[in-house]
Every structure is written in structure tokens, then in C-alpha cells.
């Protein structure tokens, strides 16, 4: 089964990967960005993702796992649809980063690397995200929110919850709390 005939990525991403492996003097240089882009689409590095990436680059799955386990943004388990990453490093800490982090814990009812039961949110305490002069800051997936205080937290959560509900076609009136369809472990495909 070659990647041309069978891929678990969207046609756009598959095309992007085809170009990416040609971009560098060595194919393997594409590995780290490829894993990140695959994770962005699939949600995490499933066995199937690792197998396909390994095949596309021409290295073993073990090599891929070895590299992937080094980088803190790569994960082997599904996270929430919106992964909230709160910086508590020194510049953020001095301006109330821990207050923001604790408020997120309270509001979401989860701790470090936890996922909410509806699958919408996951929470992570992260190291410096490079927004020190506008601290405290968080990153939700790739979007930055800065100059925060604990009071901003409920609004941020409501905003993203609304987005998730709108995408799932659920009326956001609070009458129902349907389970967000999470990724099915093992297949690496959206269920």
C-alpha cells in the first residue's frame, strides 16, 4: 500500500506532505513539521499516523516514535478540541499566571493534561510561549490570548465552547450538553 493510493490525511494535507518531503536536502528533515501538521488534522499521533509518516519518509516507526517523544507539543493521546496552554513561567508568574491557571482548573474541572468529559477542552501548564511582555498569556491551540487576569477566564471558555457547539450544530442555549464527538483511539481517523 503506497501513500499515493491510501492515506488517512485529507487530500490537501497529503499533497502538502508530498511537497514537504521534496523540500529538503534530506527527506527526514520533514519529520518534525510533518508530525505536527498531522497532529493538527488528526488530533494526536495515532499508530496509523506514525505508520504513514514513517512510510512517507522511509524510516522505521520506531524512529518516528523516538523523535516524536522528544517534542513537548506532540502527543500520543487525544487532547480536547481546544487545548488550553497556560504559561506559568517567570514573566507570567510575576503577573498572575498561576491565578489564571487555577481559574482554568476550577472552571473546567480538570488539571494538567486533563480533558473535559465533553471532549471540548484540555488543559496544560506550559513553559514560556514567548509573550513575556504581555503576560500573563495563554495559547489555545495556536491562538494567543495575552494581558489576562483570572476574570477573563470564563469569557474565553464560553467563547470556545460556543465555537465547538456551533460546529457540532448544537443550539448553545445550555439546555443540552451533548458529548463532543471525540477522536476514536487506535484508528487515527475522525469517528
Amino acid at each position: 500500500m503506497s501513500p499515493e493510493t491510501m492515506t488517512l490525511f485529507s487530500p490537501a494535507l497529503a499533497a502538502r506532505f508530498d511537497a514537504l518531503v521534496q523540500k529538503y536536502p534530506l527527506k527526514r528533515s520533514a519529520l518534525v513539521p510533518m508530525l505536527l501538521y498531522a497532529q493538527d488534522e488528526v488530533g494526536y499521533l495515532s499508530d496509523a499516523v506514525i505508520a504513514e509518516v514513517a512510510e512517507r519518509i522511509g524510516i522505521t516507526q520506531l524512529d518516528v516514535r523516538d523523535v516524536a517523544s522528544y517534542y513537548s507539543m506532540l502527543r500520543f493521546k487525544p487532547a480536547g478540541k481546544f487545548n488550553v496552554q497556560v504559561c506559568t513561567n517567570i514573566s507570567c508568574m510575576l503577573r498572575g499566571g498561576y491565578d489564571v491557571y487555577e481559574r482554568f482548573q476550577e472552571e473546567l474541572g480538570i488539571g494538567h493534561k486533563g480533558v473535559t468529559p465533553d471532549g471540548i477542552f484540555s488543559l496544560e501548564e506550559v513553559e514560556c510561549i514567548g509573550v513575556c511582555c504581555w503576560a500573563p498569556a495563554i495559547q489555545v491551540n495556536y491562538d494567543f490570548h495575552d494581558e489576562l487576569s483570572a476574570e477573563h477566564v470564563p469569557g474565553i471558555i464560553a467563547g470556545y465552547r460556543g465555537k465547538a457547539h456551533a460546529e457540532a450544530g448544537v443550539p448553545d442555549d445550555g439546555s443540552s450538553s451533548p458529548r463532543w464527538k471525540p477522536l476514536v483511539e487506535g484508528t487515527g481517523l475522525n469517528a
Binding site: R28, V32, L36, Y71, L94, R95, C128, V131
Partner: protein, 417 residues
């Protein structure tokens, strides 16, 4: 329309410096860079022109330029703004570095978290290709230069030059043994020049202003201006471009508007979390350049000035600093892997009020034994600030002894013993 748009950048004189360098040739570029006194903005402050001159002229393997945009040092957010507002300066600087050393390919590596900045950079690179500034025949000449952008995936350690090359080769970001230095054996085994994104973005300005004028902007042996990231307890935190040698006290009180809420200054971290802390008495006449800060017993580092007020617990601050290095240590060499871990354990226990008097000396002993004994500077980066905190705030450490609660702390974690 900002300079992130290629037309605006050209209107402001962009890419003229690269054209000039193309006409003048590599020897002229390196002479100019040496005369400009530009020193690496990543932290070590190595003279840029000198670094470029180390690359052998003739070499069987291809040469490369590598731009380090893996900005991860806590307290530093300058490259963030450069990629956001001035991506073409990075590209132009990369071209000039390529011309100086005779490379045909340049890589611009951004940390994985900076996805929206990577997209800005990718667009800028595509625009530069479309204008013919990059490609087989740059600016209509017969010189080739390609630029490839690359994303990391979350690792502080990858900011170290040899670890960065490993990451770019699709491996774990573990540093390589030196020598050979990257200028001789670097990326894909070819001679490689690695510069911080801010250094590279400065290069076109050096060429444009002329080396003498650029050098005159700064202080002795420290040419030009740099971006200082003022954060922590100041009224107006932000990224400020100031001449090298600018007085630190003035920076905090005039540029930054003083300490937040009218409190008093307790300490300053002058160049990112890896640099030893300075006391208020030490910053009176301190000019912010590599030599003066070095003489004061610290480092200018990456320009991340973190201001700490009198309501902050230094033990907690030290613990948070060390927790970062413990988290980011790649685990390759033992002094760093074990040292950062034990430092974190000791400080956690200490801060929670379970410390004993001997711990203070033990922390110092651990840090002293890490210094200079690790594969890469990460071990030193953890040891140096620790030594600073213990030596300069010993009394505050002693105040935490014998089960006394921390006088400031809100976030006392239970000790993991």
C-alpha cells in the same frame, strides 16, 4: 500597510542592502560585519563577522545559513515581534549571510508554537521568490539562493545550535559534541553559520547604515541597538529597541515607567531566566552591553529583562526558574539531567518549608558542580541563576527554614521526597 508586506518593505529601502552585498562580494561583507561590532543576539554575544569568517571558503560539502527563531528563553519575546512585523528583514539578512559565506540555501527555523508567525514568514518567502529576490538567479544575477522555513514542535533545548541542526535533520534535539564547530561541520555535515533571528534581521541595517555608523550607535565593542524585552513588575512592559550600553536603571524607571503599583525593586534578571540575578545596588551605573553586564557578574543574554518587586518570594522564583530547566533538560548528559532534577527537588522541599540548613549549601554545591561540566550550555543556564539566588538572597532562604511558612508564597507545593 506594514513592512511585513513586501511592497512596503521595498518602499522603505528593503533589499537594497542585499543588492549592494551582491555587488561588493563576500570579503567586503565580512569586513563590514566585523567593523560593525555586531554581536550575536541569541545570548552568547559572539561577534557576528568573526563567526562568518570561520567558514572555510572552499569546501566539498554545501554550506548553509541557519536562522535560529526557536526563541524559548523565559523572559524573551523579541523574535516574536520581528517575525510579525519585519519578516523580510530576516529574509534579507539570510541572503546577505549566504552571500558572505557562499551558501546556496538558508533555513529559517521557528518554534512550533509560533504557527501564525510561520505563516507570515512563509508568505514573505513566497513573495520574495515571486519578485526574484530568491531562487536560481537572485536579483537577476547568476547567484542562487533558496530559503526554506521550518517549524519546531516544542523544545527549549533546540535553541542550542547543534541541537537545532539535529532537529532540522529530523532527529531528537540533542546537542552534538564540539569540536567540530558548526562553521566547519554543521547541518548535513556542511559548514553552517547559525545566527539568532534578531542578529540576522539586524544585518541589512548594518549594511545600509555602514559599519562605522552602526558601531557608533552602541557602546565600546558592542555595536548598534538591540531589542530589550522588559517584563515582570514594571508599569509599561514591552519590547524596546535601545542602544547597547543603555543604563538599566533608566530602562526600568524611565522606559518601563518604574515598578508596578509604586512598590520597590527587589531584583532584576538582566538577560533571560538563565542569567544571574542583579540587586538594585548593582544596576545604578550599569550599561546594558555584553561587557558591562559580564563585569557585574551576570550576562546580557537574550535581552529578557525581568523585573522583580519586593512582594516576590525569591525562593519561589528560583524554584520556577529551575522547574523550567528540569523540564527542558534533554537528559543526554548526567550533570544536567540529574543536577536540574535534584535542584528542583531541593527547592520544592525548601519552599514548602521542609528544608534544613544544610540544603542551602547543598543547592549551591549542586549548582557549582554542574557549571562547565555539561554537554551544552543548558546545564550552566540552570546553575548560574541558582548560584545567583543563593548567594545574593541567602537570608531569604534561611527565612524559609524550620517549617516557617513562606512569607510571600501563595503557591506552596507539597514536597516530593
Amino acid at each position: 500597510m506594514g513592512a511585513a508586506q513586501i511592497d512596503r518593505y521595498i518602499e522603505l529601502g528593503g533589499y537594497d542592502a542585499a543588492k549592494k552585498c551582491l555587488a561588493q562580494g563576500p570579503d567586503w561583507i565580512i569586513t563590514e560585519m566585523k567593523a560593525s561590532n555586531l554581536r550575536g543576539r541569541g545570548g552568547a554575544g559572539f561577534p557576528t563577522g568573526l563567526k562568518w569568517s570561520f567558514v572555510p571558503k572552499q569546501n566539498p560539502k554545501p554550506k548553509y545559513v541557519l536562522v535560529n527563531g526557536d526563541e524559548s528563553e523565559p523572559g524573551t519575546c523579541k523574535d516574536h515581534l520581528i517575525f510579525l512585523h519585519d519578516p523580510h528583514a530576516v529574509i534579507e539578512g539570510t541572503i546577505i549571510a549566504g552571500l558572505a559565506i557562499g551558501a546556496k540555501v538558508g533555513f529559517i527555523y521557528l518554534r512550533g508554537e509560533y504557527r501564525y508567525l510561520l505563516e507570515i514568514m512563509e508568505k514573505a518567502v513566497a513573495d520574495a521568490y515571486a519578485k526574484g529576490f530568491l531562487g536560481k538567479n537572485i536579483f537577476g544575477s547568476d547567484t542562487e539562493f533558496q530559503v526554506i522555513t521550518q517549524s519546531g514542535a516544542g523544545a527549549y533545548e533546540v535553541g542550542e545550535e547543534s541541537a537545532l541542526m539535529e532537529s532540522l535533520e529530523g532527529k531528537r534535539g540533542i546537542p552534538r559534541i564540539k569540536p567540530p564547530f558548526p562553521a566547519v561541520v554543521g547541518l548535513y555535515g556542511g559548514p553552517t553559520v547559525i545566527n539568532n533571528a534578531e542578529t540576522i534581521a539586524t544585518v541589512p541595517h548594518v549594511i545600509e547604515m555602514g559599519a562605522a555608523a552602526y558601531a557608533a550607535t552602541g557602546s565600546e565593542r558592542n555595536g548598534g541597538t538591540r531589542l530589550f524585552c522588559l517584563s515582570g513588575h514594571v508599569e509599561r512592559p514591552g519590547v524596546y529597541e535601545l542602544p547597547m550600553g543603555y543604563n538599566l536603571k533608566k530602562m526600568i524607571y524611565e522606559v518601563g515607567g518604574g515598578i508596578r503599583g509604586g512598590r520597590t525593586l527587589k531584583a532584576v534578571v538582566p538577560g533571560g531566566s538563565s542569567t544571574p540575578v542583579l540587586l538594585p545596588s548593582e544596576i545604578e551605573n550599569l550599561g546594558m552591553d555584553y561587557d558591562q553586564v559580564g563585569k557585574a557578574g551576570s550576562m546580557l543574554g537574550s535581552g529578557g529583562v525581568v523585573v522583580i518587586d519586593d512582594q516576590t518570594c525569591i525562593v519561589e522564583f528560583a524554584l520556577r526558574t529551575i522547574s523550567f530547566y528540569q523540564h527542558e533538560s534533554c537528559g543526554w548528559c548526567i550533570p544536567c539531567r540529574e543536577g536540574t532534577d535534584w535542584l528542583k527537588k531541593s527547592l520544592t522541599r525548601f519552599h514548602a518549608g521542609f528544608g534544613v540548613a544544610k540544603d542551602i549549601d547543598n543547592i549551591q554545591y549542586l549548582a557549582e558542580n554542574m557549571m562547565g561540566r555539561t554537554f551544552c550550555p543548558l546545564g550552566d543556564a540552570a546553575a548560574m541563576p541558582t548560584l545567583g539566588f543563593v548567594k545574593k538572597f541567602r537570608k531569604e532562604f534561611e527565612d524559609h527554614l524550620n517549617g516557617k511558612p513562606c512569607p510571600f508564597a501563595k503557591h506552596v507545593e507539597m514536597a516530593v521526597i
